[in-house]
């Protein structure tokens, strides 16, 4: 900017400021005039206010005078009022004290009242409950009363019943006593020994016979002392029995024993007895509470049986002598030793001779039976070739087989070893079965014989025929002594009924088994059908014998 410019600007500004100052002087002169006008207004107003003030002061004095009088009056009144007020204050204080006391009492009362209210409420609840209870009690009481009445009635009835019962019990007791006495009398006098043991095995009852058999001190004794006390033995081996084999022991342990043979020899009694014992457990609610044993003295029966068998044996021996005589004389006559016989004489004598032979066979069979039953059958096992033995039996039967034009076959396993057997007895077995097959098969029939191993331990002999068979209704009797089936009795009178009995005895004594299958029908029917040869399906007999064979048995008596 140049200096000219700046001087011009400043000159401009001075000019502007001289104009503004002239304007402000105008405004100040106007304001001084206004202020002089307002001064005169205020002076006039102040004169008015002085007048008004004087007037108001005059009025106020009067009023003050009036007020003073009133005040004096008021003071007097105030004084009186103060007195009254004081009196009132005293009264008020007194009232206040009273009020306080009252307040206390009231408060107490209030508390009491509250308590009372609570109590009342409680009481009310209790009362309700009580009334409910009372109601219930009333109900119960009623019920009880009813029950009591009923009970009274029942009691009366019970008393009546009781009296009746007592009467009945008395009667019953009498009856029972009678029964008991009777039973005891029966038990005591019964021909068999009766003894009862409890669950510990103690003898609790025994009759006379039992005491005779067991010995005189039979009233005591527990199982483990029985053997010592009574001497209980196996009837055959006469070896003492183990405690757990004694029938009583078995019975009170819950096992039954039926007709078990025993030998009893009480050390204090001279002779032993053979008895047969049947022992039965007594059960109460499925629990064994003891046992009853019935002893039968078999000593006499055994002797009778032995005597019988011995008689048969003796009689048979005696029979053999005259049989031999008939045999030999008939033989010599038939041989023409004392001169030639004519045909008729020869025929008749032949009948005599053959009948005598049958008698000899019968006697032999009877002797076998008696010695089997006597136990005098000596069994002398030795290694035996059953095949050779069978072959020789077959050779013996060959003539009859040929005469009856029978088909016959014999087969034997290659692995058959020697068996331990008494050849004489084994021969009887094979001989009986084969001769039966020949005897009871009609002409032209077929017989098959085979020997094989039944298993590793047993040998099997099988003989089948196409014969008459055994009637179904008699099959169970076929092994019975002296039994002969009806159908064969009709056809053939020659037969003792002892063969199969003997065979079975031998086989069983040897530890083997014998059984058969037969298509035989009911006796009679079979016979008629069999005759025309249409239904001869025949019989098969099976015998098994253990390879270890028979046990040696030395003859017992005689």
């Amino acid at each position: 900017m140049n200096k000219k410019a700046i001087i011009s600007t400043v000159n401009n500004t001075i000019l502007n400021l001289k104009v503004s100052a002239k304007k402000k002087e105008g405004v100040r002169r106007k304001l001084v005039i206004t202020a002089k006008r307002q001064e005169s207004v205020w002076r006039k107003l102040a004169a008015t206010a002085k007048e008004k003030e004087n007037a108001r002061r005059k009025k106020l004095v009067v009023t003050a005078e009036k007020l003073a009088v009133t005040a004096a009056k008021l003071v007097a009144t105030a004084k009186e009022k103060e007195l009254v007020r004081r009196r009132l204050a005293v009264t008020a204080e007194k009232l206040a004290a009273t009020a306080k006391e009252k307040e206390l009492v009231r408060r107490r009362l209030a508390i009491t009242a509250e308590k009372l209210v609570v109590t009342a409420a409680t009481l009310a609840v209790t009362a309700d409950e009580l009334s409910a209870t009372a109601a219930k009690l009333a109900v119960i009481a009623k019920e009880k009363e009813i029950v009591r009445r009923k009970l009274a009635v029942t009691a009366a009835k019970l008393k009546e019943s009781y009296e009746k019962l007592e009467k009945k019990v008395l009667e019953r007791t009498k009856d029972l006593e009678m029964a008991r006495v009777k039973e005891e009398a029966i038990l005591l006098s019964i021909g068999d020994g009766v003894a009862v043991v409890d669950e510990t095995g103690k003898l609790v009852f025994f009759n006379k016979i039992a005491s005779d058999i067991l010995g005189t001190d039979a009233n005591q004794g527990l199982p483990d002392t029985w053997q010592k006390r009574y001497g209980v033995f196996d009837p055959i081996s006469l070896k003492p029995l183990a405690t757990d084999q004694i029938p009583f022991t078995l019975a009170f342990k819950g096992q039954s024993v039926s007709k078990m043979p025993l030998f009893i020899r009480n050390p204090q009694v001279p002779n032993g007895k053979f008895i047969s014992v049947t022992a039965t457990p007594i059960f109460l609610g499925g629990k064994s509470i003891g046992g009853v044993a019935i002893f039968r003295d078999m000593t006499e029966e055994k002797e009778v049986d032995k005597a019988k068998t011995e008689f048969v044996s003796l009689a048979s021996h005696q029979l053999r002598t005259p049989l031999s005589t008939v045999n030999w004389y008939a033989e010599m006559l038939l041989a023409g030793d004392v001169g030639a016989l004519n045909e008729k004489q020869k025929k008749y004598l032949d009948e005599v001779y053959r009948s005598n032979q049958r008698m000899v066979e019968l006697v032999n069979a009877l002797l076998d039976v008696s010695s089997l039953e006597l136990g005098t059958f000596a069994i002398e096992p030795k290694p035996t070739d059953i095949i050779k033995l069978t072959q020789s039996v077959i050779d013996e039967q060959k003539p009859q087989i040929t005469v009856k034009r029978m088909k016959f076959s014999f087969s034997s396993g290659k692995n058959i070893t020697l068996i331990q057997a008494d050849p004489k007895l084994l021969r009887m077995v094979v001989q009986n079965i084969l001769s039966n097959a020949v005897k009871y098969t009609p002409e032209g029939g077929e017989i098959k014989l085979s020997i094989s191993l039944a298993d590793k331990k047993n040998i099997l002999l099988e003989v089948s025929d196409t014969g008459y068979g055994i009637p179904k209704n008699q099959q169970d009797k076929i092994f019975t002594k002296l039994f002969r089936a009806d159908n064969v009795r009709d056809k053939d009178t020659d037969g003792t009924g002892l063969g199969l009995y003997i065979v079975k005895s031998i086989v069983e004594k040897s530890g083997g088994k014998i059984w058969f299958h037969s298509s035989g029908e009911v006796a009679g029917v079979r016979a008629s059908r069999g005759a025309d040869g249409k239904e001869n399906k025949g019989t098969t007999f099976y015998v098994t014998l253990p390879l270890v064979g028979m046990k040696k048995s030395v003859t017992g008596v005689k």
């Binding site: 021996h317 053999r320 002598t321 031999s324 030999w328 010599m332 006697v363 000596a378 003859t555």
Partner: protein, 172 residues
């Protein structure tokens, strides 16, 4: 006559049953044996014995038999029953007879009896008799045939009795 009889074998028969004794005697004689039997003590020792010395002598007790044996020069075989008169039986006879030893020891004894209990038979066999026959089971001619063949072939027979099956099956 003497020559003929000397060829004959002599059998001593001990049997208490008369009819049987007679039958045995008859059949043995018929079969060509000289038979000595005795029926009673009297018969054995009376005068008749001499007359019948080549015939029948019945011996009914062991003593009798032994006495005869002492007096006899030769007996080829003995036919013996188990039951005999007197207290002793055939088994006792065999025992005494065998106990005598000497010449009697080799004489074969054939027991022909009905007392066939297995035990009795066993006792006879162990006492050394040659054979045991159940009387009622055998014909006279069977037994005599056996005795004959035994006397004709004593070695073979004794072999047979030791092992009868083998002998039977051997073809002749």
């Amino acid at each position: 006559m003497i020559n003929k009889s000397s060829k004959k074998k002599t059998v001593l028969v001990l049997e208490d049953e008369r009819p049987l004794l007679e039958a045995i005697n008859a059949k043995l004689e018929k079969s060509g044996f000289r038979v000595i039997t005795a029926r009673s003590v009297e018969q054995a020792f009376n005068a008749k014995l001499g007359k019948k010395s080549l015939g029948v002598i019945t011996i009914r007790s062991i003593e009798q038999a032994l006495m005869y044996l002492e007096s006899l020069e030769k007996v080829d075989a003995i036919w013996l029953d188990h039951h005999l008169f007197g207290k002793e039986d055939g088994l006792d006879f065999v025992k005494k007879f065998k106990a005598n030893g000497g010449r009697w020891n080799r004489v074969p004894v054939f027991v022909v009896s009905n007392a066939a209990s297995p035990e009795t038979i066993k006792s006879y066999i162990t006492s050394g008799v040659s054979k045991y026959y159940v009387k009622s089971d055998h014909r006279l001619d069977e037994i005599i045939k056996d005795i004959k063949s035994f006397l004709d072939h004593p070695k073979e027979q004794s072999a047979r009795s030791a092992n009868p099956k083998k002998a039977k099956n051997t073809p002749h």
